[in-house]
């Protein structure tokens, strides 16, 4: 194996001494390759630069997790968010902080014998929680189910005929506020957690939008803000709470909070007040005289997908 003298040594057959010539074919190809590679890299990163420039202010970027903010910090954050709502939507809104009451754990029950599937709850949710008008988003999906089946995966949401159909029943599904919430377990940044009154909340400013929680939720209860919500100024609900119905930024998850901005003030959720048939029962599970406790104690209640061990705080029942 005698190497022929005068070759570069890689066995490529070229004539040796390439380092003598700056503009050899080899160097030109190398140079072109490096230039193309660098251009492709810059192009690939450019959306990131665009995104950071557009959406995130320095204050927002440096904001701590909700649970680490002091009362003073929170005030600063709320005023900033109110200013942003004014700039971006032209609406005068009030953002406040609603905390759980001691001795309260929320429960919700829905009477499937009474629900007629009119979807007024979903509509009320849409307006109460400042949902994107373009996608008609709502935290509630009303499933039309065939009598005899309890499999929510077989439910149809796109029914379009007078209701109730005699062969069907109607099952609205929203966040079940699980006591063992899989969505909280999978969040890689602890942007979602369960509060003392049982409500699973999201810090929209801490969420990184990975959508793991959406995949983990067996009730399809979480929604992703693919776009910045579009809401006409005059339709914005100005009474907002940091953890619930304030207008969400683009690229974060959101979910039903049992209207905590109402319920933590002692009021009923918007979906309950909108129900024309009175199919919904809401209250404090820790109060033995509450309506919700009477339902659980006297009706045959069931929870969705009990076998998954999620321990929902949302109950369904039929009249005998």
């Amino acid at each position: 194996m005698s190497e022929p003298s005068g070759e570069c040594g890689s066995g490529c057959g070229c004539k040796g001494g390439g380092d003598d010539k700056l503009f050899s074919r080899r160097n030109l190809i190398k140079g072109a390759g490096i230039t193309l590679g660098a251009a492709a890299f810059a192009k690939a990163l450019s959306p990131l630069a665009h995104w950071t420039r557009e959406a995130t202010s320095v204050d927002e970027f440096l904001q701590k997790h909700y649970r680490e903010l002091t009362k003073v910090d929170l005030e600063v954050v709320f005023r900033r968010l109110e200013r942003e709502a004014k700039q971006q939507y032209g609406a005068d809104v009030t953002i406040s902080d609603h905390r759980p009451q001691a001795g309260v754990k929320f429960g919700y029950a829905l009477n499937l014998s009474i629900c007629i599937g009119c979807r007024r709850c979903a509509e009320a949710c849409h307006h109460e929680n400042n949902h994107d008008r373009a996608t008609s988003n709502s935290y509630i999906r009303v499933l039309e189910m065939t009598k005899g089946s309890m499999d929510m995966e077989k439910g149809n949401v796109h029914y379009d005929h007078p209701v109730p159909h005699p062969d069907k029943f109607y099952m609205p599904v929203q966040c079940q506020q699980c006591d063992n919430p899989p969505c909280v377990d999978v969040c890689p940044v602890e942007a979602t957690w369960k509060e003392a009154d049982g409500i699973v909340v999201v810090d929209y400013n801490w969420c990184i939008g990975c959508r793991y929680c959406e995949a983990a939720c067996p009730y399809h209860a979480r929604r992703f803000n693919w776009t910045k919500p579009v809401i006409p100024k005059e339709e914005i609900n100005p009474k907002q709470s940091y953890l619930s119905n304030r207008i969400r930024p683009q690229g974060v998850m959101e979910k039903c909070t049992f209207c905590l901005h109402r319920t933590r003030e002692g009021r009923m959720p918007a979906c309950l007040e909108a129900c024309p048939t009175g199919a919904r029962v809401f209250g404090n599970l820790l109060d033995p005289d509450s309506e919700i406790r009477k339902v659980i104690e006297n009706k045959r209640v069931f929870v969705l997908k009990e076998e998954l061990g999620t321990k929902p705080s949302f109950f369904y029942f039929f009249d005998e």
């Binding site: 999906r141 319920t263 933590r264 003030e265 129900c275 309506e291 009706k299 005998e320």
Partner: protein, 217 residues
């Protein structure tokens, strides 16, 4: 030499013990400082004693009047009180439908079991209703009239699981308004009517609908 070796051994053992203590200390500190299970602060308790706010049941409109089909000179429909006609007519306990009547109530859609008109209306005073035992009942008290037959519904109503409501779940912080029976049920044909659903959900990109539903939500 032997003494130096012993001192070296003791020093070595001390360093190992120190490392162990620091390691365990850090573990314990991290465990104590974990905040993933802390649910955040609670609201301050109100210091004032709790007042229970009232639950108001909506009252039905008072004594009904019947439209004559005429309009007066101002264009307002002319209505008359029940007694205008019924004071001078013999009650017919057999009447079960408006279609058999000659003067008024012909268009009345009636579908409420096998009841006759005078099962609920009081033939001796048409400005009141009649309970099953014959005692009169004001029109504002219709809830109790319905409750005579619809016991399970009345029980559920009292337990708060039948009938719509508005207001507060927490009566220490505000009152509540509850619907009465006739807000949702027409007493002459009480089955809840069919309605067209509102607010149809929009299709998510990539979603398909099979002709008979059964699609993924």
């Amino acid at each position: 030499m032997a003494g130096e070796a012993r001192i070296g051994k003791i020093a070595f053992g001390g360093v190992i013990a120190l490392i162990g203590v620091v390691f365990v200390g850090v573990l314990v500190w991290t465990w104590l400082a974990r905040n993933d299970l802390k649910p955040g602060p609670k609201a301050e308790e109100p210091s004032t004693p709790a007042v229970i706010h009232p639950v108001t049941i909506r009252t039905p409109a008072g004594i009904p009047r019947v439209a004559t089909g005429e309009v007066d000179s101002q264009g307002q429909p002319v209505t008359i009180a029940c007694a205008t006609c019924h004071d001078t007519r013999q009650p017919n306990y057999e009447t079960r439908s408006g279609t058999t009547l000659k003067d008024f109530h012909q268009g009345l859609h009636f579908a409420h079991g096998n009841q006759s008109c005078l099962s609920c209306h009081n033939a001796t005073d048409y400005d009141t209703l009649k309970q099953a035992d014959g005692r009169p009942l004001e029109f504002s008290q219709t809830l109790m009239l319905c409750a005579q037959c619809h016991g399970p519904q009345f029980r559920d109503y009292q337990n708060g699981s039948h009938g719509g409501m508005q207001g507060h779940w927490d009566l220490t912080r505000g009152g509540r308004t509850r619907n009465t029976c006739t807000d949702c049920h027409d007493p002459h044909h009480p089955a809840y009517p069919e309605v067209m659903p509102v607010f149809p959900p929009k299709m998510v990109r990539g979603e398909t609908i099979t002709p008979h539903g059964e699609n993924h939500p």
